[in-house]
Symmetry: C3
Subunit: 365 residues, 3 copies
């Protein structure tokens, strides 16, 4: 980062809050971990175990909480920005430095893009090569559409949306302000719905699956982020809804007519079947599977690889996954699991036998 991009601690505090302890005129031009930062860099303390590093760091300044700064045995000569949440503060400052350093995108439509004459694109938007914007689409201020994106008929993209390369947004979907969608994600494909129209059984069954038209769309609120190659299906009649500030990782599947509550985070490879409602502030672990037509309360946590088949009506942490153990050990246990009901019957028999003996026998008397 060029020296010219350095900024004083006083300026940081003016922009991001907090309070300077030490030299407010000290300049920093980047961020680094405590053990690697130099005088021109800002470090942060978010985890107690690194507290000793604060006393030895060469960082130009350290982001630290009011409680932690009190624990330092010495802080003479050190510079600090005191803030209740140093990690979040770090993240905001880091983003600002990145924005400063990033090449400025030039507003306008790349000559290699195709924008339908009946689409409405803000003059401040940046439309990359090989992008397609179909009729009736509305593209907001400062929207950034990277190469290869397809924005379908009648799609609405809010201000400051950023779609990474090769994203597809099907017709009629809406994305709120500041939504970020990573490469290859697909918003608004048809939900998986087919009516069985079969007659007869077995080899003599005839008939077919009849596709259920999916005429809802996907409605994504402000500040949502969606990971690479994730898929969110359009609703059958009503919309699939992603509430504001939801964060979704890569390769996640969200079925038609789901509603995901605000601030909920969903880790990679999770799959949520259709018509399921997830509350606000939930945390869905990696590779979790959630059945269709169930409801999860606010503040539910489902740990990685677990499966949810029924509604979870209370906040709390839920689990159904086993951790891997040596294969031979596992096989021993797994063999027993397959016959657990018989094992229970044997215990029952033992209990009965013992009880009978207690009744029969005089020796307990």
């Amino acid at each position: 980062m060029a020296a010219g991009m350095a900024i004083t601690l006083d300026e940081l505090v003016k922009r991001f809050g907090g309070e300077v302890v030490g030299d407010g005129a000290h300049r920093v031009g980047g961020l680094a971990p405590l053990d690697k930062a130099g005088p021109a860099q800002l470090a942060f303390l978010a985890n107690q175990k690194y507290l000793p590093q604060v006393e030895t760091t060469a960082a130009g300044a350290v982001l630290i909480s009011p409680a932690d700064i009190e624990k330092l045995s010495k802080r003479d000569g050190g510079n600090f920005i005191v803030t209740p949440n140093p990690y979040a503060y770090f993240a905001r400052v880091a983003q600002a430095f990145i924005d400063l350093a990033a090449p400025k995108a030039v507003p306008g439509v790349h000559p290699g893009a195709y924008v339908d004459p009946a689409a409405k694109v803000a003059a401040s938007a940046v439309i990359g090569p090989h992008v397609t914007v179909e009729a009736g689409a509305v593209v907001g201020e400062r929207v950034k559409l990277d190469a290869g994106i397809v924005v379908g008929r009648g799609v609405t993209l809010g201000d400051d949306v950023h779609l990474y390369p090769n994203v597809t947004v099907y017709h009629g979907c809406k994305l709120g302000a500041r939504v970020i969608v990573h490469a290859g994600a697909v918003i608004g494909a048809d939900g998986f719905g087919f009516a069985p129209d079969f007659v007869g059984e077995g080899d003599s069954r005839t008939g077919t699956w009849v596709k259920i038209p999916q005429v809802g769309a996907v409605d994504i609120a402000d500040d949502v982020e969606i990971g690479a190659n994730t898929t969110i299906d359009r609703g059958a009649m009503a919309d699939t809804v992603i509430e504001h500030s939801v964060k979704i990782d890569n390769l996640v599947q969200i079925g038609h007519n789901c509603r995901i509550g605000a601030y909920t985070v969903i880790a990679g490879c999770a799959g949520i079947a259709g018509s399921t409602t997830i509350g606000k502030h939930c945390m869905i672990g990696g590779a979790v599977g959630i059945a269709g037509h169930v409801t999860l309360a606010d503040y539910v946590i489902v740990t990685a690889q677990s499966g949810v088949s029924k509604s979870l009506t209370k906040a709390g942490m839920y689990t159904s996954a086993f951790p891997a153990v040596p294969h031979a050990d596992w096989n021993k246990s797994a063999a027993v699991v397959r016959n657990l009901d018989k094992l229970r019957d044997r215990i029952k028999a033992l209990e009965t036998a013992l009880a009978e003996r207690d009744g029969d026998a005089p020796d307990k008397a």
Copy 2:
């Protein structure tokens, strides 16, 4: 929907079958649920529990089965189309209304597409912006290729195929008539095959993986639908085969040389390893994993998140997944599972002890 698009019940029956009870000249122009439909809309009864709604609905007409119409306490003044499968009938009518309302695509090749001179594209096909059609490809009548699609060398696309944006079809694959592929899906990538060519063990191992060429293709029959970002690998020597009317959801992986039987449905996030054969009319749940080189009989159902490691030779429902429970409860059980074989041994010991005592002791006599 414009009033001009309304259609009489008599006309519907002429096109889709069934029998009118009531006023065949009544016009409907759309569909809605029983509790929301108005006089210009068609509703349907597919689930017994909504039977009472039929008697109070304001719908212009109701799709109903012969058995259910007999259950109505009153039907005077109501209009009905009686059909054995109201849900499938609804789906077909809904699709027809959508087709009427959809903007008509203009046949032809978008100027921003690239079609190799050695490809053969029907004049009725609609080729979107930024599409690539390579040499030797054959594109059938009324095929719709949305923006950003890549159709490889020698691919054959049957009549009325619809590929959504950014789909990739590798060289040599064949898609039957009316196949639908959703955005981002990849048909015909190389199967995952490498020959180990290593010598030595541990740190002194040398050598490498040698790629096994994948020279088969993917052969997809008529009326198949494939979900967004799903991947179906090409065969190693012979083809991977998807039989007719198979329906595959999003983010599904199908390995090389699999064969998926007709009418089988596969839900999202399922993964099927190579060289596995699945019968007809199977239902594979979400996130199910199926090992390679196994065979599933016709009419097998595998419930969500279960794992299939051996062939399933009989129709029926199979399961190996646990539903999530509160984390603390799960951990208690999981700790026992890890030592189940020891638990079994303790039961055995108890049984032996009791049997010995029965033999030893006179008190049962």
Copy 3:
């Protein structure tokens, strides 16, 4: 394959090693399984159970190991290439025949591609239609970029890289020589990192998630192969690293700051959370989930659908998945699993009761 492409066994041995037994001047022009090969085709024996087929095959020559050729009861008149690893030899020869037969790509940039003037593309590279190469990217010799690919700012692609259609490589990532990436894969999307900046609990919680900038990249070594629609996230501060000769299947998710050791193979639908290190020569089964911040030793094998939540410090095979059984049977066992701790308590009670009786009662004396 045209007859002109046939090659003598002597020529094969000159190029790929091994030793001819029989007629070195015999010509073959393709490969086939033992039971289908004709005189112009090469077959191979990699599995003992097909040994009898070697004695009856019509193949022009058979690839066979030194040990196996000794087991043949007759080999007069047959032609053989003797090699320690017939399967790997087969793979190499098959690839050579494919390369011979494949249409030769013409070096150069397709007129429908967009290459930024500040990118550097080798003259021998083949850049397809609708490709985007951004400023600062360096594209090596004989690189093949299929249609619809996006190569971000400052990306480096080594010699002989082949990216299939619609792949996205984010800014700053590096791919080594001969890396193959299949269609739709996304290299270098932002890792999933958000700092919680909330105050209060339940309904009165306020605040938001703050995005952690992801300023690392992805560093992929030579000879790696990556499957269709797989996603590998960029690092937060340091890079995500894929060491040489790693092979990754389709729909795999690799989180930010992971390191995957050389020669490791990862099967389809596996997910690896952030900051995890996997050793060399590991085998990660299909749909395996691995938690973040753990370390797997070299030569670890995790079987399909298992979950790894802690570091595995020793080589060996690990498992935590159950195979599907008939649904009713499973439900019986699953009901017991939910109460396993109570079952254990009942065994404990039985043991105690029996021990007490042994102490109390005179009948064992």
